[in-house]
Symmetry: C2
Subunit: 305 residues, 2 copies
């Protein structure tokens, strides 16, 4: 189901991602409102045409006008918001989110949700090393991936709705995964990589090594500038899967260490051949056509829908 | 000591870095020759104005004309070349290199070197995920670091000579470190990061994860496309220091794992605050003025010169 240009969109939480969604959808001609606890963020967003209207008050008359609600909150805040304030939402409103973990929130939300509302999870795989609405920029979505996470509480219309938001924001690839698969992917692709970047910066005093480094260290630690209020929550809410990925990675590093200790040049070379081949295929997948349909079918098969 | 425009420059080894040096110095108006074992590389470089002349034969009459010789060979090949062919070099020729490890080759070279020749080590901290002269491009040096590694066999004139090459190739920061300090730095900043990138690609089948990844995984694995003929040699020739860095990093990952296991949100947050602060300072150092003079002084102090 595609959004109609008459649909009014509410962004709940006006940070980097909320602000980028707002501006991107406003650019596409939608009326965009916002709710934030921070009056400065609302003023800034109004002054810079990121939103059409906004408030810090959870006013029923204001919120009731919105057909589509996009939650851009920290995970625990999102669940609490639904619990406490879902009575304010318009009848039959369509809800989605941008949260970085899924299993630990999505079933809980769908279980407590009013029967007339629909909620479908989505996760834009894009960001910046800065936070806040002042750094928002919808161009971060161009060339990025967007993952929809349907459950057995969702139908194909919900998925089409989430897909349409991804299209309106110009994501490169739009795919669907179960919440479980999403969390496994994210533990490896996003959370583990952030752990690595952090540990590269914290394991020794290396601030001034900048004069000796090549691009590699610079690239690997770019994401070491991290929002310390949001990420611990994301790590802990996906704890089991992240720990599994950390162990797998450390085991691989230990394997390589063993080859180096034993001067096993041939095995080191083989690992490099494998990593080179895989990274080349990785690039090709990303550059290829979106495999959305295939992935969606796979997800639904997985969900037995 | 600056190069004179009358100095003829010979590049020994015409791969990605050798080719990039050749083109960069030719652009600056120098006569540039090349020696390579591969006739195709010489033809390509001649056809594309990367060199003025070149040969696959170690012909004394050809080699004797060059005042400056830059070795762009794999580390073991470099040492053997000096051993077997240094008699071909012009009297009082000035030699330098681009090798990624220093302690394990530089003292050996300086010990066997003809008394009239001078050799000073240097390491351009730049590269690409492709190899060969066909991918050479001197613009990779702009915005990159260049490390000179003097020993007690070198004097200030040698350092000035290496510095001048760095300037002619438009490196951003030119610094000097002892071979030992260089190898410690490189173990951490370059070799460890390549180990991490390799292990991220080899620890599981992840070629098709490209559709789910954000920039972070893409950035952290860019260097997983690696020259499998050169890098095992670099790892093994700097083995002790690389293993030390791998251990330090794995220990830090284990520490973070412990915090996650114990839901220690506050300690995770503290690590993120540290990593963010350090990465910000790291950026500032790189963007600041070159601290070459200071580092040079430090190196010489260290060398007791």
């Amino acid at each position: 189901m595609k959004l109609s240009k008459k649909d009014k969109v509410l962004i709940v939480g006006l940070g980097l991602i909320g602000g980028s969604y707002a501006k991107g959808l406003k650019n596409e001609g939608f009326y965009v409102g916002a709710v934030s606890i921070n009056p400065d963020d609302i003023s800034y967003a109004l002054d810079n045409s990121i939103i059409d209207s906004g408030t810090t008050f959870l006013d029923e008359n204001y919120i009731k006008q919105f057909d589509v609600v996009i939650f851009a909150l920290y995970p625990t805040t999102l669940v609490n918001w639904i619990k406490e304030h879902q009575h304010l939402l318009k009848k039959k409103a369509k809800l989605t989110d941008v949260t970085g973990v899924k299993s630990s929130i999505i079933y809980e939300i769908q279980n407590i949700l009013r029967k007339d509302l629909t909620f479908i999870g989505a996760h834009p795989m894009a960001g910046k090393e800065t936070s806040g609405v002042r750094n928002s920029d919808p161009s971060i979505f161009i060339n990025a991936n967007y993952i929809i996470t349907p459950t057995d509480k969702n139908d194909i219309k919900d998925v089409e709705f989430a897909k349409n938001i991804g299209e309106l924001l110009h994501f490169k690839n739009i795919v669907a995964l179960t919440p479980k698969k999403h969390d496994e992917m994210i533990a490896f692709l996003s959370q583990l990589t952030h752990c690595i970047a952090i540990c590269l910066m914290t394991n020794q005093n290396c601030e001034h090594f900048s004069l000796f480094s090549g691009d590699s260290f610079r690239d690997l630690t770019r994401i070491a500038k991290i929002n310390e209020n949001m990420w611990p929550e994301l790590f802990l809410m996906n704890k089991e899967k992240l720990l599994y990925e950390m162990d797998l990675f450390i085991k691989e590093m230990e394997k390589l260490k063993g080859y180096i200790i034993n001067d096993n040049k041939e095995e080191i070379k083989q690992m490099m051949i494998t990593s080179t081949e895989r990274r080349k295929i990785f690039d090709k997948w990303f550059e290829g056509n979106s495999l959305w349909t295939w992935y969606l079918k796979e997800s639904f098969r997985f969900l037995k829908m």
